[in-house]
């Protein structure tokens, strides 16, 4: 099934990892960053994610996504939280029109790294997982195959629409629409595309559903087999255990540090 990631996934340890183990990783890393009192842990994880992306040979698009999202969101949050957070007491930079406060900046940094960890780990999972494998893994752990199909179908809709839109745009140019034409004329040409594109992808899905039905997809009381074998290997067990332990440790240490019993987070001169 042609999907967002049906092929062209370079072979790597990450690509061979069981999809469920990767999902465990996304949850574990993200939650750990969330409960950790400051941004240092998240920053470390982001660095590790970059290494992982390099190993999985998707460093270039990964960097693009992380910076494309990270830079604007950092600037925005730094501006809002750093300059206008009510918690601000210590001024670290005078911008003239506003003062950048330490507490707000730390808070902004924490939000940014948390978002980046979730985004990055999710992006890596998505980039290194053939969607068919993910769905096969889901059905393996007992998710009904209909739900699996729903997931696949909805994941398919977007790239399918993108392809459609690309072709229709070709045809618009072939009928004289300037590529560089004014924003208004391009928007005017683009908006009407959405109707037929959505409509046709809906009818496509309906037709696909019907062909599946005629090939016995909806059959009951039969244990369906899967063409894609997704094996859970020892390394997956190890990774899942590591992820779990990591999350538990982060939770415990994070809570302890919040209650003030122990201090792990670096003292920045104020509380983030």
């Amino acid at each position: 099934m042609p999907g967002p990631a049906s092929n062209g996934i370079p072979d790597s340890p990450l690509a061979r990892m069981h999809p469920m183990a990767k999902i465990a990783g996304v949850c574990s890393l993200g939650l750990a960053t969330l409960v950790w009192p400051d941004f240092t842990m998240g920053l470390g994880i982001v660095v590790i994610l970059f290494v992982a992306a390099a190993l999985a040979r998707v460093l270039r698009p990964f960097t693009g996504v992380m910076f494309g999202f990270g830079i604007p969101i950092t600037l925005m949050l730094l501006f809002i939280q750093g300059c206008y957070s009510p918690k601000n007491t210590k001024v670290i930079l005078d911008l003239g029109f506003a003062e950048l406060g330490l507490e707000g900046s730390l808070y902004a940094a924490k939000i940014v790294v948390t978002l980046l960890v979730f985004l990055g780990s999710f992006y890596l999972t998505n980039k290194t997982t053939y969607m068919g494998r993910l769905v096969a893994a889901l059905t393996q752990i007992g998710v009904p195959s209909k739900i699996g199909y729903l997931i696949l179908a909805s994941l398919n809709v977007v790239p399918q629409m993108q392809r459609r839109i690309a072709v229709i745009e070709q045809s618009q140019h072939a009928r004289g629409l300037e590529t560089g034409g004014g924003l208004i004329s391009r928007t005017r040409a683009f908006l009407p595309l959405l109707g037929p594109v959505v409509l046709s992808s809906l009818t496509d899905s309906q037709e696909r559903g019907m062909t599946l039905e005629t090939r016995g997809f909806g059959i009951r009381r039969v244990r369906q087999t899967s063409y894609l074998e997704v094996v859970w290997r020892r390394s997956d067990t190890v990774m899942t255990i590591l992820f779990t332990v990591f999350l538990v440790l982060a939770l415990v240490l994070g809570c302890l540090s919040r209650t003030g019993l122990v201090t792990f987070a670096i003292q920045w001169g104020g509380r983030a």
Partner: protein
């Protein structure tokens, strides 16, 4: 109009070499048919004629001007291209809007658009469906809607990609009329088709492609006489042509009447025929 393709090569981003050194000159007002098996590269070639695809190597000259000097939207003034799949082309919510889209982009004035609308709608048989949604048209009507929307632009060259699929005889006749009209107006019509009966009947010139190359280029009589090459390219001449050849009639024939004439000539020339030609007179194609 004159279109020159020089050493044209095109490699798709995934690495498939779809055009592998095409040299071809298309000119005048004689309709040209582009034939060849699935995947021969016909659509890829056609998409080069107005710059939707840009050659990996080689160049295209339109009336002597290198196509690389302008974008597709500018070439749309000279070359109209009807997509293989009308769903790739139609996106507005009425046939009328579809028809008006091209000429509007090219800056035709309202009067001219209205006048052409009337002519073209009649020609493609959608005069009373102008306010319908293209989505509600039958597949054949959709195809004609796509054709109409390109004819509206009044281009010197028109390229039809597979206009004859899934169409009944009425559709074929309408298409033949459109092609004849274009020729009458001195326009160049290039048509991709798998329907050899349709090709033989309507196109004096035929270009045969395989594996991204031009195998044969000539009059339909020349091309359909080359059984060996046609077979190698997985193209089957029209049935009547094959029958005529089988029984040894002179030259390729493409219509029933030509067949009958040839058969009579052969008989009066007292050649030994394995067919009773009097019977063929009653046959209608």
């Amino acid at each position: 109009m004159k279109i020159d393709l020089e050493h044209l090569e095109y490699v798709y981003p995934h690495g498939h070499r779809a055009l592998d050194g095409v040299n071809l000159t298309l000119e005048g007002d004689q309709p040209v048919a582009l034939i060849g098996q699935n995947g021969a590269g016909k659509t890829t070639l056609a998409k080069h004629l107005n710059g939707i695809l840009r050659p990996t190597k080689g160049r295209i000259l339109i009336d002597g001007v290198d196509l690389a000097t302008a974008n597709t939207a500018q070439w749309a003034r000279k070359v109209g291209y009807v997509f293989q799949n009308p769903d790739d082309q139609l996106f507005l919510d009425s046939v009328r809007k579809e028809f008006a889209f091209g000429p509007r982009q090219l800056g035709f004035d309202q009067d001219l658009i209205a006048r052409r609308m009337e002519q073209v709608a009649g020609l493609v048989g959608l005069a009373d469906r102008l306010d319908d949604h293209p989505f509600d048209l039958s597949p054949t009507e959709k195809k004609f809607c796509a054709i109409g929307s390109v004819l509206m632009m009044d281009t010197g060259t028109v390229v039809f990609d597979e206009p004859t699929c899934g169409q009944d005889k009425a559709g074929d006749d309408r298409l033949a009329a459109i092609i004849a009209r274009l020729r009458g107006q001195g326009r160049l019509c290039i048509t991709i088709s798998h329907d050899m009966k349709f090709v033989a009947r309507n196109f004096p010139r035929v270009v045969l492609m395989q594996h991204g190359r031009v195998l044969l280029d000539g009059s339909r009589e020349e091309v359909f006489a080359r059984d060996d090459v046609l077979e190698q390219a997985y193209v089957t001449p029209p049935p009547i042509t094959r029958v005529a050849r089988q029984i040894g009639l002179d030259g390729p024939v493409f219509t029933v009447s030509a067949f009958v004439d040839a058969a009579w000539r052969a008989k009066s020339g007292s050649r030994n025929l394995s067919l009773d030609t009097t019977r063929a007179k009653g046959v209608k194609q």
